[in-house]
Assembly symmetry: C2
Homo-oligomer: 339 residues x 2
């Protein structure tokens, strides 16, 4: 497969983006990469590595959307940005998928603008893998659409189930609706209505409401929520994990005995860190668009980039967009189209 | 002060409720307690302790609202429940404040039904203390009102600021609006409108939007959000903390060396556990009602109950309800009353 990489996107670009790309090329023999960005910077980075030049192309793009840029303005003003050019390669069928670790808001805007929604998709969603007690789960939407209608949530359930079916070969993934109580009838107006739609949806395995405390217990595979709540939950989880880890370090630094103990448990803590490290999960994906756009975490190191490229490659191999179109078509027979 | 305790409320009642009450009596010399519940059960528990009987009363209530009861139905059907009777003592002015660790939904319903809203309060809110990197912060609403109007959030900011002023003597607490982006104009319809109201509110120290990742960094004192999002964030934080701690234990159990290391860092981990333990923070409080109703965590041990009683006593001493009435009256001059 051919994957385009926004070489300039992310806090540590282009050093870590190119480094991650090189790792991906090593791991996937059939992979071809198109690096998009300032040609001279990319060539400079490439000097560090030995590689098969027939598997690499460079597309020059003279502008960079910065992490601090106002998303909509930047996407529209910086037409020759590495991010815009990357997505155009997907749109034009030059590549099979794309990866960017750049400005999230800009990538949401640019992906929708360039790739457009699949016919029948009410709103695109951003889906991301998240660790839980058992292993991991998919959560969507985590930020594409802040104001949701219940019908959007029902469609997210279909798209999310398809995602796990294709990425992990999972049969009938358990779908849970993120809510503030487990019983039917709990929640706000949107979740109460969404509950009924999900319950009536025969194309998914809906197991009911799931609370924030229970969401990580490993019983749910697809967690469905609106983009506001999803983003909030994700960022809270990240914030809490950070505070716990930093407090633990602080406590441990208080005495020599603690430090000695910490030294002994270090490998265990490291494995735990790896488990909750978002870079292990290959970033987030925009679902419902006519093309594959993968978002790697803004502060991705080379492993984060590598994993995002692997996910992009896998989804391209699986012909995910076509599969999703079929799933949406089928879902459509009992769906009212709000477009 | 005189505080009523729902002796039958909570997973570990009446053993832990009475035990916690005894600890509170020891710590606060001026405290009087009214135990509400099945007389014979309470008397049986009291046999375990030595106490000054002039500081204790028992009010018999023959029914118990169970944790699994449907809240609204239970409150209406079980008129002689310990929870209902506890709140009636507040309403009738027999006690200065009340504490219950019982069914949260039922306590929301019963508190509103018995105590009624303060005139001018659009919706009551549940406020709770939450640990952050620096120390702790107040977050509200965490579950009283799932569907919010922007005006409610503005009033929560006033009530929350007053809460910290009274409980901790804090001057001009920094108010943050929980949102999915920091810039003005970010979020969903409700937060975008609420932002403008908060910015224009001269009675509070509004510092802007705050994201889930940043909410625990210690820069915000009062975190304002709707009851759906607040409940979700709180429960997610709890879920994440639990998973991290249990994963850490699991990892550590994998080898003898880890176990040895863990033994050495145990006091450090224990202090951390205490920091994130909700029982340390004296439960949650219903703000905006004509009377003090404190909610202790459902699985409170005696320390959780003791701390909730201490908070109840302190707010009663501070004459919190009257103070809040004044603050709401002042806020009202520029507020549209939606009642």
């Amino acid at each position: 497969m051919k994957v385009a990489l926004d070489a300039m996107g992310g806090d540590k670009a282009p050093f870590e983006t190119i480094k991650g790309a090189m790792k991906a090329l090593e791991e996937i023999e059939t992979l071809h990469l198109v690096f998009v960005g300032k040609k001279e910077s990319i060539e400079e980075e490439l000097k560090r590595y030995k590689y098969d030049s027939s598997r690499i192309e460079i597309v020059d793009a003279r502008e960079v959307i910065e992490m601090t840029d106002e998303p909509v303005t930047a996407v529209k003003a910086k037409k020759d940005s590495s991010m815009n050019r990357t997505l155009e390669l997907v749109k034009d069928g030059v590549v099979d998928a794309s990866v960017s670790a750049g400005n999230t808001g800009a990538l949401i805007t640019a992906s929708q603008l360039k790739l457009k929604r699949i016919k029948g998709v009410l709103r695109p969603a951003i889906a991301t893998m998240f660790p839980n007690k058992k292993d991991k789960m998919l959560i969507l939407d985590v930020g594409a659409t802040a104001d949701c209608k219940p019908e959007f949530l029902n469609q997210y359930a279909i798209m999310g189930s398809k995602y796990l079916e294709i990425l992990l070969g999972m049969k009938n993934p358990a779908v849970g609706l993120l809510n503030i109580g487990t019983e039917e009838g709990k929640g706000n107006e949107i979740t109460r209505e969404a509950y009924n739609l999900l319950k009536a949806n025969k194309g998914i395995n809906f197991v009911g409401n799931v609370e924030g405390t229970e969401v990580m217990n490993g019983k749910i595979d697809v967690v469905v929520t609106d983009g506001f709540t999803g983003n909030m939950v994700l960022k809270t989880a990240e914030g809490v994990a950070k505070v716990i880890v930093s407090s633990l370090k602080e406590e441990i630094n208080k005495s020599f005995i603690y430090k000695l103990g910490a030294l002994l448990v270090k490998p265990a803590i490291k494995r735990l860190g790896k488990k909750v490290d978002s870079s292990e999960y290959g970033g987030a994906m925009f679902l419902g668009l006519n093309g594959l756009s993968i978002k790697a975490h803004g502060n991705s190191d080379s492993n984060g980039i590598k994993n995002a490229i692997k996910v992009a490659n896998k989804f391209a191999e699986m012909n995910f967009v076509e599969e999703l179109k079929n799933a949406i078509d089928m879902g459509d027979s009992d769906e009212k189209n709000l477009d």
